[in-house]
């Protein structure tokens, strides 16, 4: 005997159709329009969960987002969703759900056995137990994890999609109840671009649970329908349902999540539409018509299944046609309880109202009132069977007698309304306690850009709410430059008996001595726990929250927080207004990670940047390496080759024959202007004044600390035009750097800089036979060594295409870098491959490139440097032009005491004693082979490879005072191994540099 379906006019379900669903393996039926909760209640299903700590049986308390107990696992497999509130799960054909607590089952829960020892498990016991012995912690953790949590995260990839939609509107109205509907109508009629959101599946808010409301002579349903129709006629008004505004951010950005398809059976969902959509709304004016949520009263065993809120009782009856019980006890502090008593009595229930106000009387003879009484405790094993009612002192929260027992099958309580202030307070502010209303309210005048409308401001009566909304909207319209005068809808103002605010109902015993009175259901926080926190000297409400876990759960304390704040204030003997609330933070209700990510997952998680020649590399079986966001060929393995075999072959081809590499990813900047040379002088360490047209020079770029930040070859194209290259990863950063200095420090310099990174593709043709290959493709450049020297560049025609040829070398071999407009990049690459076929031309990637340059001791910024290496540290003093007339960036810092001191880490070469031993990059270098109590770490290995050309291992390293340690043997430590290595030059191949000059 408890919940049942009743014939009720005006419900929102379609009782002519049936929907089949299952819960915990049992089959049930419901109706379209039901939630899982209403359908289960209609079948008398009560026990939905076991509590988090004590394993106590729990049932449905609320009817919406405020529900703390009825968390279910919805669906199976890849679509399974944990912790959906049964009160929010819209029923569809074939829905399958299960409870998320209770082990081994809901009926018999092992934790509840432990829960018998609850007096040893008060708030805070987690931090005091399970500490020792320390070695048992892994075991404790496994056990606690088994008992902790509710539902299960899906174990399979999500097959559904998510996306985002941005809005720019004049007015955003959050909440589609009576006041939100009115606000949207008023804004829309004034011609303002308006967006109205509501979290429910249909508009109406509390009106859906209060069919007898009258607005402008219309019933709730008629009013909702007429406003909806009016809004639909206005093209500048958009209405979204099943859309929860979960956060409000700086400058009136509101984020909301729309559940587009969760209410549709998986087999019926449309694949081309997302499952959830995140709306990012920028509104000139935000109107918060977010309403209020009713608080339950706190009394002994108030967590028994069958103890619910009054508004839940009303909602299940009027909206879903479910009478939650047959013998009903209602206890509360205001006339809300009489509205409910009348409705339930009319639906055939036997109703007794325990009204805490001594002067309360029944409105008619359909139900009984016990005035000046409250509930001391509910009783029943597993579900509520009765209550102990006690008489109250007229003004003090004290009992005046022993009281009596009353049998019942459902208990509804109401402690008053708590305005839903969350969005208003997401800016870090706190709501104000209104003593007369016994509520934390948002200000009825809102704040700049944000209006508050309706019961969120404490205007709990419909007539007051509509009047206050109209006043607020008048200001909103004015802020949008509209002068329309708004009429206030007419609404009857019923006579109300003054509420008597109460929170923790007295049971005649000291707190903690009687039955457990729960404040926070999801975390099993009782009133006694809060008093314990205060006794343990936690006096800030934020500390009380953390100590007890009040308000921590997926319900974020919607039913519990205010009760908790007041109980804390009473325990501290301080005014509630002083104790205040905890911090409100987004999200108001849980948001799926998919909604936050939108399309930014899988292949769209991050851009992959490609050069124009990419398809050729893929066709040749290149393995790829990410360099920043770029995908670059790493090595080109032939069948049967691993990385090392491929790299060895590629390196030998580059030094002995001809090889080719795609260098298109390097940053390229065109610099023009009469002051271009001066600008280069200032941003590079070396000198540019004398660089002639047709010549190239290596440039070293320092930051303000004198440390190397980037490098690259820059060529003089025309007298006043230069072509700068940067590292692949540094391109954007260098351009920003150049712009920053030009715009903020030297705006008088006449120079322009524009990125051409994507315009040019670069093909590096490398090796002793590179000239021969180029000659086959290019007839109009004299390639002879005396004419086209190392570090020259020429314009010409290669394979019929206009090409700039740069004779520069990162390998130390004869090398030509062909620059062509990217649209022709692939055609030129294939032509080079074809022309080089007779020479066994070998494509190579970044790995070989790294080895070749290391053999020549060329640094790679970011590999051999880490932002703390000056040019002197790198033995590159030759690249620093100290005689330039104007200072250059980093120059002053080079003379800083720490930058100029002895013993700094310096770049050297290392040759391992064992030529087959390749040092580990990052390995620590020490003078000693053994690790002792005091170890002096001299530096680390920066680059390390096997050199196929030399037939042995090589490495570059930074070592304290390294340039003075030539010929010294040092010890390289990594992964427990020690490798002796000799310090020497970082140039291992062709010390004099003859090979690039042939």
């Amino acid at each position: 005997m408890s919940g049942s379906r009743v014939l009720q006019a005006g419900t929102r379900i379609d009782s002519t159709r049936t929907v089949n669903f299952s819960f915990d393996g049992r089959d049930y039926t419901g109706h379209p329009g039901d939630t899982l909760a209403s359908a289960l209640l209609a079948h008398g299903v009560r026990r939905m969960a076991r509590s988090f700590k004590y394993g106590r049986p729990r049932g449905i308390i609320g009817a919406g987002a405020e529900e703390p107990n009825a968390l279910v696992q919805l669906g199976t497999g890849a679509l399974t969703t944990p912790n959906v509130k049964a009160t929010q799960a819209e029923l569809y054909e074939g829905l399958s759900a299960r409870s998320t607590s209770g082990w081994p089952s809901l009926d018999f829960d092992l934790k509840s056995v432990l829960g018998q020892g609850s007096r040893f498990m008060p708030a805070g016991f987690y931090s005091k137990t399970f500490k020792w012995p320390q070695k048992l912690w892994p075991l404790y953790e496994t056990v606690i994890r088994k008992f902790a949590g509710f539902g299960d995260a899906p174990a399979e990839p999500d097959p559904e999609d998510y996306d985002h939609l941005h809005h720019h509107v004049d007015v955003l109205v959050v909440g589609g109840g009576a006041c939100g509907l009115l606000a949207a109508l008023q804004a829309g009629r004034a011609g303002l671009k308006t967006l109205l959101l509501d979290e429910q599946n249909e508009l109406g808010g509390w009106l859906l649970s209060d069919p007898n409301a009258q607005i402008d002579g219309r019933s709730s349903e008629a009013y909702i329908r007429s406003v909806q129709a009016a809004l639909a006629e206005m093209p500048h008004v958009t209405v979204l349902v099943r859309t929860t505004a979960f956060g409000m951010y700086e400058q009136n950005l509101v984020q909301a999540v729309e559940l587009l398809q969760d209410h549709i059976a998986p087999g019926q969902r449309q694949a081309h539409l997302p499952r959830h959509r995140m709306h990012k709304i920028r509104a000139h004016q935000v109107v918060l018509a977010t309403g209020a949520i009713e608080r339950p009263l706190v009394f002994g065993n108030n967590d028994l299944p069958g103890v619910m809120t009054v508004s839940a009782g009303q909602t299940f009856l009027h909206r879903y046609g479910v009478r939650v019980g047959q013998r009903v006890v209602i206890c509360g502090t205001s006339d809300l309880i009489h509205d409910c008593a009348e409705s339930l009595a009319k639906a055939g229930a036997q109703v007794t109202v325990a009204d805490v106000r001594h002067s309360a009387v029944a409105r008619n003879g359909s139900y009984t009132v016990m005035a000046g009484h409250c509930i001391a405790e509910a009783t029943g094993g597993g579900e509520v069977k009765g209550v102990k009612l006690v008489p109250l002192h007229p003004t003090r929260d004290e009992t005046t007698g022993a009281g009596s027992f009353l049998a019942c099958d459902v208990v509804l309580s109401s402690g008053g309304l708590s305005p839903t202030v969350h969005l208003f307070c997401h800016d870090g502010s706190r709501p104000q306690w209104d003593e007369s209303l016994a509520a934390f309210v948002a200000p009825h005048t809102g704040r700049k850009g944000v209006a508050c409308a309706g019961s969120v401001t404490g205007a709990f009566e419909l007539a007051d709410a509509l009047a206050q909304t109209t006043q607020a909207m008048q200001q909103v319209l004015a802020a949008c430059g509209k002068t329309d005068t708004l009429p206030v809808p007419s609404c009857p103002q019923p006579r109300r008996l003054q509420p008597r605010p109460m929170f923790r109902l007295p049971d005649g015993k000291a707190e903690g001595a009687g039955a457990k009175a729960f404040v926070d259901y999801q975390n099993d926080v009782s009133a006694a726990d809060i008093e314990l926190a205060v006794r343990e000297n936690y006096h800030s409400i934020e500390h009380v929250k953390r100590y007890t876990a009040l308000g921590f759960g997926t319900d974020q304390g919607k039913l519990s927080n205010v009760n908790g704040f007041v109980i804390t204030a009473r325990a501290l003997k301080r005014p509630v207004s002083e104790v205040g609330t905890t911090t409100y933070r987004p999200a108001y209700t849980p948001v799926s990670l998919g909604a936050l990510a939108g399309t930014m997952s899988g292949e769209l998680f991050d851009p992959n940047r490609y050069g124009a020649i990419h398809a050729s590399h893929v066709a040749r079986g290149a393995a790829l390496e990410p360099v920043g966001q770029w995908q670059r060929p790493w090595y080109f393995a032939k069948p049967g080759e691993d990385l090392h075999a491929a790299v060895a072959r590629e390196c030998l081809a580059a030094r002995n024959g001809v090889a080719v590499m795609d260098a298109s990813t390097l940053g390229k900047i065109q610099i023009d202007g009469p002051d271009a040379r001066e600008f280069l002088n200032r941003i590079y360490a070396n000198a540019w004044t004398q660089l002639a047209v047709g010549k190239c020079r290596y440039g070293l770029m320092l930051d303000e600390n004198g440390m190397v930040m980037d490098d690259g070859v820059t060529a003089c194209i025309e007298q006043n035009q230069f072509y700068m290259t940067t590292t692949t990863g540094g391109a954007a950063r260098v351009l920003n750097w150049l712009e920053r200095w030009h715009q903020t420090e030297w705006p008088e310099l006449k120079v322009w800089m524009t990125s051409v990174t994507d315009h040019w593709s670069t093909i590096a043709l490398v090796g002793p036979k590179s000239r021969a290959v180029l000659a086959k493709l290019c007839a109009d450049i004299d390639l002879s060594p005396d004419s086209f020297k190392f570090m020259d560049w020429r314009a010409g025609t290669v394979h019929g295409l206009p090409v700039r040829v740069f004779r520069i070398s990162f390998s130390g071999e004869l090398s030509y870098e062909l620059n062509v407009e990217s649209g022709y990049g692939r055609a030129l690459w294939e032509a080079v491959m074809a022309a080089g076929a007779e020479f066994d031309i070998t494509p190579y990637g970044t790995e070989t490139m790294h080895v070749l340059r290391a053999e020549k001791g060329f640094i790679i910024v970011g590999q051999d440097t880490d932002g703390s290496m000056s040019p002197m540290d790198l033995d590159m003093a030759w690249a620093v032009g100290l005689k330039k007339p104007f200072s250059f960036l980093g120059k002053r810092s080079l003379s800083r005491s720490d930058t100029a001191r002895e013993g700094r880490k310096q770049l050297v070469g290392l040759l391992p004693e064992d030529p087959a031993s390749v040092l580990v990059e990052g390995a620590q270098i020490m003078e000693s082979a053994t690790v002792g109590a005091q170890n002096q770490m001299l530096g680390h290995v920066t680059s390390s490879y096997h050199s196929a050309f030399l037939g042995r291992s090589i490495a570059m390293a930074v070592v304290a005072g390294g340039l003075q340690r030539k010929e010294q043997t040092l010890y390289v430590h990594a992964h427990g191994k020690v490798t002796p290595a000799k310090v020497g030059s970082s140039v291992f191949v062709d010390l004099k540099g003859d090979r690039q000059n042939v």
Binding site: H164, G598, L604, P607, G611, Q670, D672, V756, D758, S822
Partner: protein, 217 residues
């Protein structure tokens, strides 16, 4: 100057084989897209208050560069987009590009200015259809509804950026970088899923300003 054989030219969206996938938009296709490839792109840098610069350029283009932010201007040489107070992008016929580069270089020889060929670095894509505005609103936070015909804006879209040019009420042209073209196309295709995207030919997705510049290979 000569024009190399266009058969060698590959646009930034070449890998997606769009021309081969082109179809005629049907009623259910709420969004249609077509690449407008192989145009010439010239970046112009100069000071708007330098009459020598402004006159020099006007002499080549046939009219003055626009100084009002976000302007889109159609000239005899091609479409000019205002990018910043000292930067403009000229989209032209590829066959006219070399002559324009030379003419601008000559006209601006002794002027403090910069003329940069960026033809290899950019491409254009026309997006049209009844829901093209919704699609744009799904890509990024710019207030696309406020972008009037004859205006352009450079903005962010997820993890990239592009320039949006509003040339008529039926659609827009996006201009974006070659190295981000793979990501941009994948982003567009994925975001357009609710609208049943139709990849189509330029003929079915004609843009009043950009399509006349196309020289189909």
């Amino acid at each position: 100057m000569f024009n190399p054989p266009n058969v060698m030219l590959e646009s930034p969206l070449h890998a997606f084989g769009l021309p081969a996938r082109a179809a005629t938009p049907a009623k259910e296709n709420r969004v249609a897209m077509s690449e407008l490839p192989h145009l010439g792109y010239i970046v112009l840098r100069g000071k708007a208050d330098d009459t020598a610069f402004m006159q020099g350029v006007a002499g080549v283009l046939g009219q003055a560069l626009p100084t009002r932010p976000m302007s889109v201007v159609s000239t005899s040489a091609g479409v000019v987009l205002w990018v910043s107070p000292d930067e403009w992008l000229l989209a032209c016929k590829r066959s006219a590009r070399d002559a324009l580069l030379a003419a601008l270089a000559t006209a601006l020889r002794d002027v403090f200015a910069q003329v940069v060929d960026n033809s290899g670095g950019l491409t254009a894509l026309r997006i049209s259809g009844p829901d093209h505005l919704l699609l744009l609103r799904q890509l990024g936070p710019y207030d696309y509804e406020s972008l009037a015909v004859g205006r352009c804006a450079s903005t962010v879209a997820s993890k990239t950026g592009f320039t949006v040019v509003r040339t008529d009420t039926d659609g827009v042209v996006l201009v974006f970088r070659r190295s981000f073209a793979d990501y941009t196309w994948r982003l567009l295709e994925r975001t357009a899923r609710p609208y049943r995207l139709c990849i189509t030919s330029p003929a079915h997705c004609a843009d009043p300003l950009f399509t006349p510049l196309l020289e189909i290979v």
